[in-house]
């Protein structure tokens, strides 16, 4: 790459929904001057090998994230609550995609 012309371009987080997938998954990030170009760039950088059928881009600074320091408080209490998993009964056939 030459130059440093991406100075000042905002960072975008990219989410792709795969062919089989139901939800958009985070795949990475990129720089772009605006949302339209971010989608085009995401198409070129992250879907060249048929990875997806839908793209979301989100300004990175619009994402509110949990703090790594709060990890214990946030997630450890779920450790011993296996009864929250829906594994103790049989799913009817009509229920897809659990």
């Amino acid at each position: 790459m030459t130059g440093s012309s991406q100075q000042g371009w905002p960072l975008w987080e990219v989410f792709i929904r795969s062919r089989q997938g139901l939800g958009h998954k985070h795949v990475g990030s990129l720089h772009a001057p605006d949302a339209e170009m971010a989608i085009q760039n995401a198409r070129d950088v992250y879907t060249r090998r048929q990875e997806g059928v839908s793209i979301w881009v989100v300004p990175a600074d619009a994402i509110a994230a949990s703090s790594p320091d709060d990890k214990d408080v946030m997630f450890d209490p779920a450790n011993d609550k296996v009864y929250r998993h829906p594994t103790f009964y049989d799913l009817p056939d009509e229920v897809n995609n659990m």
Binding site: M1, T2, G3, S5, Q6, W9, L30, H31, A32, P33, E36, M37, Q40, N41, R43, D44, V45, R48
Partner: protein, 252 residues
Amino acid sequence: MTEGQHVQAILRLGDDAMVLGQRLSAWCGHGPILEEDIALSNIALDLIGQARNLYTLAGAREGKGRSEDDLAFFRTDREFLNHLLVEQPNGHFGDTVVRQMLYSAFALERFAFLSGQLVDAELAGIAAKAVKELQYHWEHAAQWVVRLGDGTAESHEKVQQSLHDLWSCTGELFDVDEVDAACQNAGMLPDLVAIRTAWDLRVNACLAQATLARPEDGWMKEGGKQGVHSEHLSYMLAEMQVLPRTYPNATW
């Protein structure tokens, strides 16, 4: 339409794609940013893919056993039948995106027709695949022209100059020679007057959004599709062809 004209028409299509694909390939590793580097390389690969299909078809229609590689690597500049526009040097990034916008608007309209014509079904199949690629090339290039034209004072001035420099290569796109006329009458190639109208609409809309002035239609260069090229093409071909010409049948 004679068989020779049929082959020549397909070769012209293939040569446009080959030469522009080779030009864009030179951006690989030199793009202004990583994302655009990949975008230009993707477009280059789309075009080279189109060229391969068209060369293979031209070789088959010609019936002399010439392969896609024979047509790409063992013809001289006088035997290449691409438009002058696509052989113009990459220049700076603005030059490249303006060239891409002007060509993609033309190619998109042309291949849309080709995908629907019934004279050569294989050509229609190749064109149908190409149209999806060209639609993206057009959108990507047009968006860049808008951003540079309606960007800073410096970027505006630069792409206005790019447009001015390349404009004299646009007249040739709509020139009708014997080959074009014969293939149009046969229904294989589109009426270039209609293509011009559609091209004008696209280009004018893009330039208006980009706040760029459309140059006057002055003197236009011509000769590319008859094999008479600018000095730029033979240098490009020398680089493109050196390996297969030095080591025929080399493989890796």
